[in-house]
């Protein structure tokens, strides 16, 4: 019997710029140490607009410290973050020599170039149309990050942008898997990016009561599964993979972190923002991913959950996990790394996929922080306090991402 895994997709490079570190090693070290990236914002616009939320998980390393000055001028921050992460991932993969027509790019974003869009709207109102920056449109378009990465690495097999709110980053990984499986590319640079710590998204998320308002203690604000959770913490950054066909990676002797074995996707068709309470849509995404990775549900030992720290969302995800895995739910170690990184929206799925891959590669699941009193409605086996070791041998893990609009994406990672 043939399987869609006949052409396997493996992870050979990782890159990230996040609220807890400017690189993957820095980010992983901070997450194992349980450090929060949330902090009070000192921007003048916070008090100017009297924002109800005065903190966020801001990027740890400023792009101007990494990129050329002209790159920071001509690229929206969302593209800058993607470029930083893509260059790190590419170098991490050994900067392989490859036919450009066999190299693709797939970078998702939830919101796109919101800073450019609104800054340039201000320029138009205050100074007139002639002063609007000629690069405004390519900077604000949501495919800008994918285009920037494609241009930088010379990726000519295709440059693609998945847009599915907070599932965008995970969906781009799924898109990249499909590009490799269907033979359109041998190597794809894939991930997600978001630069939306801007007064408008903050005001919008706050208006819908989605954000934590724990202004007096930002580091304790993102607390998935805790009874005191009151919303998510807005984060920013990017995470990017080098994904490669197993055949191509082996032929060049590449270091392989893990197999990105499958993606499972579904849509709730239930409500524009609320998750389906019984979790049927999300559970289908998880089970599709398990099946397409040639696994049984009992093979999954670990889930890096979407778990944003909202009162409703964390329960809905638990219901979905329970629905998919039944009694096996208790056997899986679950972690919610947004407790440290905040919620990177369109980059979240890619960042948490990086963490899942490293958890499988190092056989170490990082602990969830701020979990003082676990919600009795969410009786998951959550890793807390100390990180937890995963067993030797063949292991598999899932990473969940869900987005406004009812988008459900689960990625399956198998040890290699």
């Amino acid at each position: 019997m043939t399987s869609i895994r006949d052409r396997r997709v493996v992870v050979t490079g990782l890159g990230a710029t996040t609220p807890v570190g400017g690189t993957v090693p820095e980010t992983w070290e901070a997450i194992l140490a349980g450090r929060s990236g949330a902090r009070t914002m000192d921007f003048d616009w916070v008090s100017k607009y009297e924002l109800p939320v005065t903190f966020a998980a801001l990027i740890a390393t400023q792009p101007i410290d990494v990129l050329a000055k002209v790159e920071t001028r001509r690229l929206d921050p969302s593209s800058q973050y993607a470029l930083i992460a893509a260059r790190e991932a590419w170098a991490d993969a050994g900067a392989p020599e490859i036919d450009p027509e066999r190299l693709g790019a797939a970078i998702g974003s939830g919101i796109g170039g919101v800073w450019t869009l609104l800054d340039q709207w201000d320029v138009l109102k205050e100074k007139g149309p002639r002063r609007v920056y000629p690069l405004a449109v390519p900077m604000l378009m949501p495919n800008g990050p994918a285009a920037a990465v494609s241009l930088d690495l010379g990726a000519r097999a295709g440059a693609h942008t998945t847009v599915s709110a907070c599932a965008s980053g995970a969906e781009s990984m799924g898109y990249a898997i499909d590009m490799i499986r269907t033979g359109r590319a041998d190597v794809v640079v894939a991930g997600g990016t978001e630069a939306a710590v801007h007064p408008l998204p903050i005001a919008g998320f706050a208006a819908m009561q989605a954000l934590s308002t724990r202004n007096d203690d930002p580091a304790a604000a993102s607390r998935p599964y805790d009874t005191g959770r009151d919303g998510f913490v807005l984060g920013e950054g990017a995470a990017v993979f080098v994904l490669e066909s197993e055949e191509h990676a082996k032929a060049r002797g590449a270091r392989i972190y893990a197999e990105l074995a499958s993606v499972g996707m579904s849509a709730d068709a239930h409500h524009i923002t609320a998750p389906e309470p019984n979790g049927s849509g999300a559970s289908r995404a998880m089970l599709y991913a398990v099946e397409r990775a040639d696994l049984a549900p009992t093979d999954i030992l670990h889930i890096n959950a979407h778990a944003t720290s909202t009162p409703v969302g964390d329960v809905a995800e638990y219901n979905a996990i329970k629905r998919a895995f039944g009694e096996h739910t208790d056997n899986m170690s679950v972690t919610a790394t947004k407790s440290m990184t905040g919620h990177l929206l369109g980059a979240a799925g890619a960042l948490e996929a990086v963490i899942t891959v490293l958890s499988v590669y190092h056989r170490t699941v990082p602990a969830t922080i701020n979990l003082d009193e676990q919600d009795p409605e969410i009786p998951l086996n959550v890793v807390k306090g100390e990180h937890q070791k995963l067993p030797d041998g063949d292991i598999a893990a899932l990473n969940n991402s869900f987005g406004f609009g009812g988008h459900n994406v689960a990625l399956a990672v198998r040890s290699y």
Binding site: A68, K69, V70, R73, R74, R130, R131, Y133, P134, L135
Partner: protein
């Protein structure tokens, strides 16, 4: 107030550097914006608009295509300031 051609050249070089990253010393009078400095039309429009603000002149869109070299731009700005 009119500036000397050298002052205009120096100011223009700063604008070019800011927008494109090209070293200010490379922005010489006889260099062509497109052929020598590899400046594309989008960057050229930004340079023009920034130059208008910096030098207090108006450079009509119809004039931009005539500004082939750095000297063309310096001469136009100098004339417009007079």
């Amino acid at each position: 107030m009119a500036q000397s051609e050298q002052e205009i050249l120096d100011g223009l070089a700063e604008i070019v550097n800011e927008e494109t990253g090209i070293d200010t010393a490379s922005v010489e009078m006889d260099k062509s914006f497109t052929e020598d400095l590899d400046i594309d039309s989008l960057s050229m429009m930004t340079i023009v608009v920034n130059a208008e603000e910096k030098f207090g002149v108006r450079i009509p869109d119809s004039e931009v295509k005539n500004l082939k070299t750095v000297r063309d731009a310096v001469t136009f700005i100098s004339g417009a300031q007079a």
